[in-house]
């Protein structure tokens, strides 16, 4: 079984400092890391590998070399980096199309992927469009909010989050799964794998190798005009204490504000 995990590299958000202009600012030395939901996609793939013999995991990232090294150190068997000046500043729908083209190129070389896993949405831009765009470009079914995928003889059993509860669904086709936060975390790398990952040669595919030209990636349909800090609450009311007085004070304030 062949699995493809598409991962995004984001700045380590814990380095963000409050900023009155842009809401959050990042110092120059902020390290890159693997996006949270990408990590859940990798863990879902690793669990399939635990359960079955002969499962290979390919990690794929658009301009995310460090994220790919993390994948290699944890569970991926190989990593492919997509990098090209043409890819700078493309919107998330275009990212999905680029990843889809790369998947097609890899499938032409080594055979089809049984399942493609991505994160539901990234922690930085959180637009949630790259995975659906990838599924659309490949013409494969999209399954969102996925926790686990368990391969059966000829199908996949998938658990996913819905408003009504946890759903279990079955899919027979090669599909695209968008993974979200399950009750567990991404496993830790082993020291040996980490050393190997740090020194691994990661092959790079450019726009030319994906047969993509400028006109394929230049049609960004979204323009961000500005980034700004959310409006701060105007002076919150402080109440100190832990007893009946604090509770009474809170209740009368809420009543005055007609919030009850």
């Amino acid at each position: 079984m062949r699995l493809l995990v598409c991962v995004k590299q984001v700045p380590d958000l814990t380095w963000g400092r409050p900023d009155s202009q842009e809401g959050l600012s990042f110092p120059q030395e902020t390290p890159p890391c693997l996006d949270g939901c990408s990590g859940y996609a990798l863990e879902a793939a690793a669990r399939i590998q635990d359960a079955l013999p002969d499962v290979s995991i390919t990690a794929l990232s658009l301009e995310g070399e460090e994220a790919l090294r993390i994948c290699l150190s944890v569970a991926a068997d190989r990593a492919i980096l997509l990098s090209d000046p043409l890819f700078n500043g493309v919107d998330s729908l275009t990212k999905g199309r680029i990843l889809a083209r790369a998947a097609e190129v890899l499938e032409a070389q080594d055979g089809p992927f049984d399942l493609i896993l991505c994160g539901q949405q990234s922690a930085d831009e959180a637009s949630g469009q790259t995975g659906p765009a990838l599924a659309h470009a490949l013409g494969r079914p999209l399954i969102s909010q996925v926790f686990t995928a368990t391969p059966q003889e000829k199908s996949l059993i998938v658990t996913r989050q819905t408003g009504a509860g946890v759903q279990t669904v079955e899919t027979t086709a090669p599909a695209v799964a968008l993974c979200t936060k399950p009750d567990w975390d991404l496993r830790y790398p082993t020291i040996l794998k980490k050393m190997l990952a740090n020194n691994a040669e990661i092959p790079v595919l450019s726009a030319r190798e994906l047969s993509l030209s400028g006109s394929d990636v230049e049609d960004s349909r979204i323009q961000v005009l500005r980034r700004f800090a959310p409006r701060q609450k105007e002076g919150s009311v402080r109440i100190s204490g832990s007893g009946a007085d604090a509770a009474r004070e809170l209740l009368s304030l809420l009543e005055q504000a007609r919030a009850l």
Binding site: L13, A123, D124, G128, G165, K233, G241, A246
Partner: protein
């Protein structure tokens, strides 16, 4: 055919119906600015009830598509239906609710018609001659103001709870309904047969007017008894932070935040929740926010209207008692 000036909103027929009706409020204002009609689009299996409700809520027209096959249709089927409708009628913009279904359908549709999609907006506005979409990034710590470029249809999903739905007025003459034939895909993609549904918890956070949420600070599953008691006394629902859910103290159905529910109740009480970005992303749109926390530096206090620096195990029981006294 020229693009019209009409503004469309998608009213879902299932669980997302109320979130869809909310879209009529910003939709009305934008349609006026665009100089076009406000058209509600209803697609599903039996749509009459929703059509009646929408008709009384101020739409200028309704576009209805009915086919029993939509009951088994996945997101790609709905995206295909919208693609056909948009190509037939050329609206200026389409608003969808950022519900489970809307979040799946909108990006597939955007990819299909190569349109700009402003995802998960918390505000839509008119700026001189274009629609301005505002959406959060970085877990709600930053807002982006953006526009959809080009002359294609503009797409946006809006967070549920941001706008109030119009009050239905059943005496008004119902708007014209245009029935369209778009068969659902006869053989939907071989996916999404429901094998087993579990963990039905019956909690409806998205529609709750009051939510009392507990986090790591409630110290265990027993602590949620107190949260439940407070929620009951205030007539609200029980929410939870991801930390509490991860620790197994309460089911995921209660989780508020980026990987749980996005809520905007009239009153939100955060008890023992430090206020990680992911949590704030799910509740910062609430009208009045109360935070109870022992740590005066907890980030939750930055979004709170009423910051109670104290022990929730002291404050909440007193709060419940006081409410009981007042209600006699």
């Amino acid at each position: 055919m020229e693009r019209t000036k009409d503004l469309w909103v998608w009213i879902e027929t299932g669980a997302g119906k109320n979130a869809g009706l909310e879209l009529l409020t910003p939709g009305r204002a934008l349609a006026r600015k665009l100089g076009g009609r406000l058209i509600a689009v209803v697609v599903g299996t039996s749509v009459e009830d929703v059509v009646a409700l929408v008709g009384a809520s101020g739409a200028d027209g309704i576009l209805a598509v009915e086919d029993p096959a939509y009951a088994h249709c996945d997101c790609a089927g709905y995206a295909a239906a919208f693609q056909t409708l948009i190509q037939r009628h050329r609206p200026a913009a389409l608003l969808l609710a950022a519900t489970e279904q809307g979040r799946d359908v909108a990006p597939l549709l955007a990819a299909g018609i190569k349109a700009g999609l402003a995802a998960d907006c918390v505000e839509v506005d008119w700026a001189e001659d274009h629609i301005l979409f505002t959406r959060p990034a970085l877990g709600g710590k930053q807002l982006l103001a953006q526009v959809c470029k080009g002359d294609g249809v503009q797409l946006a999903t809006l967070r549920p709870g941001v706008y109030r739905r119009p009050i239905p007025f059943f005496e008004a003459p119902p708007p014209p309904v245009m029935w369209e034939q778009i068969p659902a895909p006869p053989d939907p993609l071989p996916v999404l047969s429901l094998v087993r549904a579990m963990e039905e918890d019956g909690v409806d956070l998205e529609r709750a007017q009051v939510i009392v949420s507990g986090g790591r600070g409630v110290n265990g599953p027993e602590g949620f008894q107190l949260i439940r008691a407070a929620a009951e006394a205030l007539g609200g629902a029980v929410g939870a932070s991801r930390a509490a859910v991860d620790l197994g103290w309460i089911s995921h159905a209660h989780q508020v935040g980026q990987t749980g529910k996005t809520v905007a109740p009239r009153l939100y009480l955060a008890c023992g929740i430090s206020g990680a970005m992911q949590h704030l992303a799910g509740m910062s749109g609430s009208e009045v926010i109360v935070a109870i926390n022992r740590d005066p530096r907890a980030p939750i206090f930055q979004v709170a209207d009423y910051a109670v620096e104290g022990d929730l195990f002291g404050v909440l029981p007193a709060l419940v008692e006081e409410l009981k006294l007042r209600r006699g």
